[in-house]
Symmetry: C3
Subunit: 364 residues, 3 copies
């Protein structure tokens, strides 16, 4: 072969038209992570989310405030101003805004004009993260935030980190719903050769997509083998559930145990990872990650070891997806096509769902 | 409030349509500063003004020459060539141009084709600066250059400087016609808290816009207090006139005196600052500044002290305007709006005038 | 003069419409140099040629393979994967491709889908360089590659080098077909003042363009004087033939001899330079150079001396053409015009031919 026949390419291109990609407008009506709570303190924090420039701060009573980061007088970023009590003072002409976004002082005159203010955004602080709703305010339903109780439960030892991804959040979700790449992209970190070939089941529902994979027996990579003690060759079971829970959250749950011990006697070791991508733009993504385990409690050295090992792997994703994005950007539309295989079914369904969400939003 | 009601935003957007901004084409028929005279010597100097690439040099009899910086043979920048007597020799094939822009030699042949040359621009050297006219040559009237006699008068001790502004010259003029920002943007340099709240008068004429502000009594910031000796709290009067004199020149005149002395006995201290913005492009500006004082003559240390203090403040403008420009560029047009307040009246009138100048030029 | 009259400019602009320039689409049906053979080893090499991203490797039996550098599964660059024997394994999901571009393994499933593969490109290794054909495969005729036997002949001592040119390959060909610039652009390297004024003959044929110039007597610059021993003032003849042989190859042949010796007694010294530009894009060019001489054999010090001296001069071209390209990019189309003189005749004919090649290709 050189290039596939044109009719085969045309069919592949046609199938891709039903999938969200880097050209799909962002879906606004969703809870996305804005920041780790620890990032938002008594200083102004500027961050661009879903193409909009925002400024964050924490009030004197510890609430998180998210405002449009542009003074409506002369467009100075409010984040270049100062935080005074629970108000933001613009650094250019001193217009003052309260935490509801209302302009409450114009220094050059005795009264403040009516109807001047900046947009505010609803936030929810849950465990270590701050979620934000940037879509229609009347749709900002807390029930749309997938519960992540373990992130607020002290039984789970946690660590967290942030990666700046130079790629579309759609492709990150695709990556997370496809675990056959572990054996290749992560060959030097937490992938093992048997992973790509292990049997898996897909769960494809309405807006819920999951991969379930049981690699038994297997040899664990150091990141899991050392903390669990399951260091022997072929000693471990690795039971993985990887689930798209919303556009802003993908959760990976893994249970490890010694597959040579009888079920009733064996301890189980559980880890969870919340992957929380928030689009900065169509092709740049804030990638927030919280990782937890329910074993080896109160051991900072183990936490550090696992965190460092994991972030080597997540950086491989970030580097790989950036290369993929570059190739996508460099390929003329008429020459671009992608083929899918069986293992892509959950990711393909997810991308179809993301596109339908955007199309529905555009109609409303 | 979150965001102002849509009808309020629409009204603000509608009002802005009458004001020059970053999208307004540049006004060509005006005298702008091309360079400080000291920059133009017996070397080729390349500079882009009003979107056009120019090359400058000084002739053997000290005249300033401004030529189009592109050889009409094969588009090499002439500034990459050499200056030989009063001619420029292109560095690629050696085509030679005289100071009138005529091609007078083609080395590969014995005669030079007719009608080959580059555009020349009229310049006027006045005191420390070189003005240039880049519009219609037949409109290059010297009387259109606002007189700045003090810049050529030895009674005034002067210093000068250049800042590269990553913003529209319109916004710099707006900044200069609005002094309420001194208390905020310049809180750490020459602004004082009473400045924003001081009463002011506006003068709004045809193409002439001024702010007059008398801050009496006031406490001077060090840049003025130390050279004048008016260091006491509430000791000084600060009488400011800030005037848009052309698209290429804004002049600030300030008189200081001891407000506790009777009028007939008190010495007056005067400073002048010529702010001379020249668009490089719609959103980049060459910012030339000349500052003068009529007191403490022949004292380089005082000159240096005042210059350094002032340029800290002017750099605050440049930094702030760049942030403003970034916010303007990042805001989708349909989401952009700005409200004005009373103190903005002179700047708003000026921006309306700039737009009318551009519209008139487009019609001619 | 200031600017030439508008009718003169319009005539110049009109004449330029018939010449290839930075806006002319690239000509695909041609042999271009892809790489020096020494660059392609048992590692994956990524390179963009004619706007297309390719990956190169050498098989276990030393053949050069050129593949499209994008996995058709999920667009990862194959160059980020691994070379295993004569196959490339994608670094994302492990899809494996053979040297014909066929996908032969998908790790997540037992069989490989049909009709999945990447485009391959035909290459020809000749002496130190690898040529590639990126146009229509059925037109990839070896006879279209201009013979360069000297590049494979041990009688010629050779050196080679690569320069990254930030300009159109059309302007590099123009530069190579115009030697009047030697006296100016190369005034400090191998140009001499008499060069621009020396008589020359042009040969303008169908797709073959040459300049023949005999500079007799002349004083050689050090790069030629030292190796030939023709160091005396006015001692040398410098007989130059500079020929466009294809869009991918320009050859310069020079013969030197002592012009004071009778013809039958004098030794002749010959050098050849193959200038091989390959467009990376419309305004970036891979510039491959091979230089050879038929005298002072087996003397690495002389090879090094000549190579270093020559590459100083070629870098002058690269620097000058980048400045020219910047000026072309910065000039609005309606203000751009270029005049040609007699010495430009071969280059103008060549640019007309390049445009006709592109137009013909667009019709086919």
């Amino acid at each position: 072969m050189t290039r596939p026949p044109q009719n085969v390419i045309a069919a592949a291109q046609n199938a891709s038209l039903r999938l969200a990609d880097r050209h799909t407008p962002l879906v606004m009506n969703e809870w996305y992570v804005a920041a780790f709570g620890a990032e938002i303190q008594r200083e102004l924090l500027a961050r661009t989310l879903l193409g909009k420039r925002l400024v964050f701060f924490r009030t004197t009573d510890h609430r998180v405030v998210a405002l449009e980061d542009r003074c409506p007088h002369r467009s100075m970023p409010l984040s270049a101003g100062t935080l005074q009590e629970d108000t933001v003072v613009c650094g250019y002409h001193g217009f003052r805004f309260n935490s509801e976004g209302d302009c409450i002082e114009v220094p050059s005159q005795s009264s403040c004009p009516k109807n001047v203010g900046v947009k505010t955004y609803r936030t929810l602080e849950r465990g270590p993260v701050v979620w934000i709703w940037m879509g229609e305010a009347d749709q900002a339903d807390v029930s749309k935030l997938p519960p992540q109780d373990w992130m607020e439960d002290d039984k789970w030892e946690r660590s967290q980190g942030y990666l700046a991804l130079q790629a579309s959040y759609v492709r990150l979700h695709e990556n997370l719903l496809d675990l056959t790449h572990l054996s290749f992209l992560h060959a030097k970190s937490f992938g093992t050769p048997d992973y790509a070939k292990a049997a898996f089941e897909s769960e494809i529902g309405e807006g819920q997509f999951a991969l379930v994979r049981q690699v038994v027996p297997t040899t664990l990579p150091p990141v899991w083998a050392i903390p669990t003690g399951l260091t022997g060759p072929g000693q471990a079971a690795r039971m993985v559930r990887s689930e798209f829970r919303s556009l802003g959250l993908h959760e990976v749950s893994v249970t490890f145990y010694d597959c040579h011990l009888p079920e009733k006697d064996r301890p189980e070791f559980r880890i969870r990872t919340a992957h929380m991508p928030t689009p900065e733009s169509a092709t740049r993504t804030h990638y927030f990650i919280v990782h937890g385990r329910d074993f080896v409690q109160d051991d900072p050295a183990t936490t550090r070891f696992m965190h460092d090992q994991l972030f080597v792997a997540f950086q491989e994703d970030v580097d790989g997806l950036a290369l993929q994005e570059q190739a996508l950007a460099a390929t003329p539309p008429e020459e671009l096509y992608e083929f899918s295989v069986s293992a892509d079914a959950p990711a393909v369904a997810m991308r179809r769902y993301v596109l339908s969400r955007q199309q529905k939003e555009a109609q409303d």
